[in-house]
């Protein structure tokens, strides 16, 4: 089986500082990979390198494209990479405001990717937008409201709808539940888990919240100072951490 995404030796320096160093892993279709670590451990740098927002200094990010099979997205041309990022890829930002157009209605936000890939029938676009709003549990009557009138949780769900409307195969998520209160977090996680299962999505989730990866991720990588220090099945890493830092991380979670 060909991996959907194969990361080989990705390294990114910020001047003399290490962003992330020599990260390699394979992600297979339908798999959800969690990346955890403390702030500044290079999780987001790695995610941005994989999603094409940053160019890694060294390394390959090979994506199994629909048309041409495995291609290195670091060396492919920018139009191709941008095309990928609005069709087969999705990127969910930590702050919904970074991923949404706040001056455009919810329907327009969801429809943007459809229009970007050439959809030109207003009725169809609107129907799909409404369908997606309902799938992320936003009332269809809110379709013409701007995201500024939405609560934080709704904005985050709208961002997810906007990203998934073109049926991507790989979703990058950067702290998708950050900044939300716990009950809203639980609902969002539930929704994400449902969508990932139903659509057979592959996802890479960066978070510092171990509960999120416990619920969503099949596999887990623990990062510290830009390097992967432990990787394995989620339950294995969380229940039997081997590296001293992983043990510290797991034991730091407050039990209620």
């Amino acid at each position: 089986m060909t991996p959907l995404l194969s990361v080989q030796g990705v390294t990114k320096h910020y001047g003399s500082y290490i962003g992330c160093a020599d990260v390699s892993f394979d992600l297979y279709p339908g798999e959800v990979m969690g990346i955890v670590g403390e702030s500044g451990s290079g999780k987001s740098t790695l995610l941005n390198c994989m999603a094409g927002h940053l160019a890694p200094d060294v390394g390959e990010v090979v994506f199994d494209t629909r048309m041409d099979g495995p291609r290195d997205t670091v060396t492919m041309s920018e139009p191709e990479r941008r095309m990928l990022s609005r069709t087969d890829w999705a990127f969910v930002h930590q702050h919904a405001r970074d991923g949404l157009r706040m001056g455009v209605s919810a329907g327009g936000n969801v429809g943007e990717r459809l229009m970007a890939v050439g959809e030109r029938h207003y009725g169809d676009i609107r129907d799909q937008a409404i369908d997606w709003l309902e799938r992320v549990e936003i009332d269809a009557t809110r379709v013409d409201d701007r995201p500024t009138t939405f609560s934080g949780g709704m904005q985050q769900r709208l961002q997810i709808a906007r990203n998934l409307v073109t049926g991507p195969r790989l979703v990058f998520m950067d702290e998708p539940t950050g900044g939300l209160d716990v009950s809203v977090q639980a609902r969002l996680l539930d929704l994400l888990r449902g969508l990932v299962r139903d659509m057979g999505l592959s996802a890479i989730i960066v978070t510092h919240d171990l509960a999120v990866v416990r619920l969503l991720a099949d596999r887990l990588m623990v990062m510290k100072s830009g390097r992967v220090i432990e990787a394995g099945l989620t339950d294995q890493v969380l229940d039997d951490p081997q590296h001293a830092y992983s043990q510290l991380l797991v034991s730091s979670v407050l039990q209620v």
């Binding site: 920018e78 139009p79 941008r82 609005r86 157009r101 455009v104 209605s105 329907g107 327009g108 429809g111 943007e112 990717r113 229009m115 970007a116 890939v117 030109r120 029938h121 207003y122 009725g123 676009i125 609107r126 379709v143 013409d144």
Partner: protein, 285 residues
């Protein structure tokens, strides 16, 4: 005094060359916004500094010059620009569309079809059609270069979801030769169909924003729309009160304090020519 200290039509020779190069590049890549080093003009930004520079760069002593502002030859902007070139270039001026070889215009295309050999110069306030959706210039340039125009349709989508139809009625975005999306300057969308396949050369100058773009003759220009909400060139559903024309773009004019109003052609030259030919509208004295 050297022989170069005087130059025809206001601009110095180096400026004129620079603008002509920008115009030629614009004509070679229809719809592409060419940056140019816009000069200070003896008028405020927003009054047609871009148009004046383009006109000055293309005028020759044999040209006959016409200026229209919202279709009219007799408004302040039109009169002052016409006088400016009468004094600085000593070119012949006219108000008759057919006689003019260079027509500088703000917000309208003349009703009378333009012919081969004529040049239309548009005054453009904001040349970037994507500006109100994407404020970053670096990003809009990238979107143009990669033909990522989905965002333009988001604007039209918002129009329909808010108003039930595409409510953009001027500066209606067009696609040029299937490539660049272009802002046709704030002409009413009634004039959009005239942009395409026109026999005259169309030049667009934005002075404050320092951009020139162009449409060579007989260029394909398509107004953007949705399959189920096609583009419609709209105008007021009346005929001209003075000349009775049914096919021209109309201005609504309030004529008393009791809500009385009349509709008249916005193109004054067209209206006058029709009246001279004996056409009469219902409000004509």
């Amino acid at each position: 005094m050297t022989d170069q200290s005087y130059n025809f039509a206001y601009l110095d020779e180096q400026t004129k060359r620079m603008i002509r190069r920008a115009i030629l590049k614009g004509l070679a890549i229809p719809g592409y916004q060419v940056p140019f080093a816009s000069r200070e003009m003896p008028m405020p930004y927003g009054w047609g500094t871009g148009g004046v520079q383009v006109s000055a760069a293309v005028l020759t002593p044999e040209d006959c010059f016409k200026v229209i502002d919202q279709g009219a030859d007799d408004t302040t902007n039109a009169v002052s620009i016409r006088t400016f070139f009468e004094r600085t270039a000593r070119v012949e001026t006219t108000t008759a569309t057919a006689e003019a070889s260079v027509i500088q215009t703000r917000h309208r295309i003349p009703e009378e079809p333009l012919s081969k050999g004529q040049i239309v110069v548009y005054q453009v306030p904001i040349p970037e059609p994507l500006r109100f959706l994407e404020p970053r210039e670096s990003e809009t340039r990238k979107m143009h270069s990669l033909e990522e125009y989905g965002l333009m349709h988001v604007k039209l989508y918002e129009d329909i979801s808010r108003h039930g139809h595409i409510a953009t009625s001027y500066a209606y975005p067009v696609r040029v030769e299937g490539r660049y999306v272009m802002d046709p300057s704030p002409i009413p969308k009634f004039d959009n169909p005239k942009l395409g396949d026109m026999a005259a050369i169309q030049l667009f100058g934005a002075g404050r924003e320092q951009r020139i773009y162009a449409l060579p003759p007989y260029t394909q220009v398509v107004s953007l729309d949705f399959e189920d909400h096609p583009f419609e060139a709209s105008k007021a559903a009346h005929c001209c009160g003075l000349c009775g024309a049914q096919d021209s773009y109309l201005d609504e004019v309030i004529i008393d304090d009791a809500g009385g109003r009349m509709f008249v052609c916005s193109d004054t030259d067209y209206c006058e020519a029709r009246r001279a030919a004996g056409h009469k509208g219902k409000d004509a004295a």
